[in-house]
């Protein structure tokens, strides 16, 4: 399953993170997004297509314009991916706590 890996490569790039931030509150056209960066327009297009491919962004036809917006569900998945790691520590710490509570009682 390489899709997940792609998602993390996608958000590892500073420009792509900036794009996601920009789109956090509004949907925008590629042109409007590119206007926020000094980077060449084709580079921004490339970033947008990577973000779209891994479903972090979705496109929406709006008359003649294409608007990009964040795919909240996918962003949630990105959050969820640390859940197993969190659970591991939760279990360890629960155990630590119960062991030391008994220790305290000794």
């Amino acid at each position: 399953m390489n899709l997940r890996r792609d998602v993390f490569q996608a958000i590892a790039d500073p420009t792509r993170r900036a794009i996601l931030l920009l789109l956090a509150t509004q949907s925008m056209t590629a042109g409007a997004i590119a206007a926020n960066f000094d980077t060449a327009r084709p580079t921004i297009s490339k970033h947008l297509s990577i973000l779209t491919e891994c479903e972090l962004l979705a496109q929406e036809q709006n008359g003649r314009e294409v608007h990009y917006h964040i795919n909240a569900k996918k962003m949630k998945e990105v959050d969820d991916f640390i859940e197993p790691f969190r659970k591991m520590w939760e279990h360890r710490f629960n155990k630590l706590e119960s062991i030391m509570k008994k220790y305290k009682g000794k």
């Binding site: 790691f85 969190r86 710490f93 630590l96 305290k104």
Partner: protein, 153 residues
């Protein structure tokens, strides 16, 4: 269920933050991190070596259900009783060495907080560690228990 342990992996930064409040005096929380027998109990690893003091080191061994051995090793850079542990941590595999800061904080006489900050050499290493299947398996004993419990549902 309440989530007592908070984990944050900031986007684009090669670090992970872990925070947990305990219903334990800070002295006991700290002790659980520096005494071999106690560590074996809650980490589920064998402690082959533990010299929890400045410039000391540790060597842990975990055996998975298939009988494979996994080593976890590192060196203590600083150990300040009931306050702080700074150490490195390295496991088998392409995951590099991580630098760990443990901050022990007294909240009340009977409660305390642990703030852990783990810094990886690269973002790729951090994400690699977070995505490891071992993350679910590292505490095999707990996992087995969890399986038993979830099968009853």
């Amino acid at each position: 269920m309440e989530q007592k342990t908070k984990v944050t992996a900031p986007a684009g930064k090669q670090e992970v933050l872990i925070t947990r409040d305990f219903e334990l005096p800070v002295e006991l929380l700290f002790k659980a991190h520096t005494e071999a027998e106690i560590i074996e109990e809650w980490m589920g690893n064998k402690v082959l070596k533990l010299d929890a003091r400045k410039h000391g080191s540790f060597d842990y061994l975990a055996i998975d259900p298939k009988g494979n051995k996994h080593s976890f090793r590192g060196a203590f850079h600083d150990v300040i009783p009931n306050q702080k542990i700074i150490r490195t941590f390295e496991m088998d595999g392409p995951f590099g060495v991580q630098l760990e800061f443990y901050d022990f904080e007294k909240i009340t006489e009977d409660t305390s907080r642990l703030n852990m900050r783990i810094i990886y050499e690269t973002l790729e290493q951090r994400d690699g560690v977070l995505k490891l299947p071992f993350v679910q398996g590292i505490n095999w004993a707990h996992n087995t228990l969890q399986e038993v419990v979830s099968k009853r549902k």
